[in-house]
Amino acid sequence: MSHYLVRRLLALPLTLLAVALITFALAHATPGGPWDRFDEKPLPLQAEINLNRYYGLDLPVHEQFLVYIGNLVRLDLGTSIQKGRPVADIIGEGLPVTAQLGLQSLLLALAVAIPLGVVSALRRNSLADHATTLLATVGTTIPNFVLCVFFILYFGMTLRLLPFVGWGDGLDVRRMLMPTVILALPAMGFLTRLVRSSVLEVLRADFVRTARAKGLRERSVLRGHVLKNAFVPVLTVLGPATANLVVGSFIVETFFSIPGVGRLFIQSVNARDYPVIMATTLLYALAIGVANLAVDLAYGALDPRVKVAQ
């Protein structure tokens, strides 16, 4: 296990380096730079040369990369070309918003999915089960941005029930309701289906039959044997779930004008603001890497068989 842990810990910075290299190479291998203005007058040549020197864009590409990595290690993420401010500051402003949105959504998804999935599995093939499965499928299938359209047009514009612009101070429940629910829905659907199938699988296991055979009350069987084991697979998907929340945050933050990292990423993509694109991309890779690592560790702690296998 410790050998495995060390290998995983070493793999994370290597993966991040590969991610940085690919993003950097893509950014610099293609023509067109941050000074291209399709809709405005082109910059004077001397201004472009000065700007390139200021941002270090006049160095050979491999040197630029080394400089970037060197700065990165010292947590200097460079300066945003679009906004002229340190990238670290800009991300520092957006990160709390995005983290709050993501965590709220994940907790909401779990809070709904676990009871629904368990009930659905215990009452297999009942009307409630079929309805839950159908709703879960719809939740996972309808894309985020289509949900945004439906929710904003209906609850925001037609019924005028909820505000749909901005985020406020992070305490405004009415303002946060729609983005949080929309971001949570796909995870909710997916987790409900997963909880249902994993409870069903554990219910068929020999140790559950033994527990019942030795006369344990159904309630104790459920609590002590079924649920505990059924949640292990749920844990393993929290890594991929983080990845999905990241992608969802691009769309939801853009639709609702929420000043988070997702909207920042999309804005920087449209402006080809590479210091910001690099930093946000690395941040996402780091978040997903850490989530996967945490899940692996928790998994090893919960399921003793994993240790033996490693």
Binding site: A11, T15, L16, A18, V19, I22, T23, L26, A27, A29, T30, P31, G32, D36, T137, V138, T140, T141, I142, P143, N144, F145, V146, V149, F150, I152, L153, M157, A243, N244, V246, V247, F250, I251, T254, F255, I266, V269, N270, R272, I277, T281, Y284, A285, I288, G289
Partner: protein, 299 residues
């Protein structure tokens, strides 16, 4: 021998699929969608890119009688373009996006997966390192980075940006297919019938093509059933974000992007592509779930 066995396996799967009502409904919708996409030039009443501002923002036929016209049954957008024609031509873009990248992904992914899984060694090592890097990201993020980098080049101009979307999706997604096939091959490699074939003197090539490939087809088919709508979804998300299909070429994502700022006064040009995406996505999901159950009854 294998021929007879295979046929009955596929026939079993087909009858299981036919008994699944949700999957059949999905299949009907997918077929209808494909028909509309292919027949778009015949079905669409107007040029989807040409508008007449005198007829802008007309309601659909169930809307306000003062603001609708029998000539535009689903109304018009802010530039006076016929919404029905734009929806129909968008289906064509979606169909292309659904099938072209997935064909590339299957070709490369199956080939690499077979080789990596069967021969192992450096091919396997390379594949798994690529998997590590690609899986460090959500696919859409990687696609966005590639599209951003290449949008300004000649390839970004081809077919209103559609070719770049093909290439980006294929570049990112072949790895997942290769990993899937590799896993299947690894599981098959230790089984008796492969040993038996080898003992009877079959060459590696014959074993791969006649014995391994048919046995990895079922999971590949299921992956395709989910890969096609996945690619379509990527395109509409990119187009909604303004980095996908270049206007005036219509796509459902482009329609949502263009109409959204005006949605308060004219919601229909936004709602209708959103409904189309939802229906097609649901149809593919029901079909995919049905295929998975039909091809692997144990799951």
């Amino acid at each position: 021998m294998t021929g007879v066995g295979q046929r009955s396996l596929w026939r079993d799967a087909a009858s299981r699929l036919a008994a699944n009502r949700a999957a059949m409904a999905g299949l009907v919708v997918v077929a209808l969608f494909a028909f509309v996409a292919i027949a778009a030039p015949i079905l669409a009443p107007y040029d989807p890119a040409a508008g007449d501002t005198r007829n802008h923002e007309l309601d659909p036929f169930w809307g306000d009688p003062a603001y609708r016209s029998a000539a535009f049954p689903l109304g018009t957008d802010q530039l006076g373009r016929d919404v029905l024609s734009r929806l129909i031509w968008s289906a064509r873009v979606s169909l292309l996006i659904g099938f072209v990248p997935v064909s590339i992904i299957v070709t490369i992914g199956v080939a690499v997966g077979l080789v990596a899984g069967y021969y192992g060694r450096w091919a396997d090592l390379l594949l798994m390192r690529a998997v590590d890097v690609i899986y460090a990201f959500p696919e859409l993020l990687f696609v966005i980075v590639i599209v951003t980098a290449a949008r300004g080049t000649w390839i970004g101009e081809l077919g209103s940006g559609i070719v770049l979307i093909f290439v980006s999706i294929a570049t990112v997604s072949w790895v997942g297919m290769a990993r899937l096939v590799r896993g299947q091959v690894l599981a098959l490699r230790g089984l008796e019938f492969i040993d038996a074939a080898r003992a009877m003197g079959a060459s590696d090539r014959r074993i791969l093509v006649r014995h391994v490939l048919p046995n990895v087809l079922a999971p590949v088919i299921v992956a395709v059933a989910f890969g096609v709508p996945g690619a379509m979804l990527t395109e509409s998300a990119l187009s909604f974000l303004g980095i996908g299909i270049k206007p005036p070429t219509p796509s459902w994502g482009v329609m949502i992007n263009e109409g959204f700022t005006l949605a308060i006064q004219s919601p229909w040009p936004v709602l209708m592509p959103a409904v189309c995406i939802s229906v097609v996505m649901l149809a593919f999901t029901f079909l995919g779930d049905g295929l998975r159950e039909a091809l692997d009854p144990r799951a």
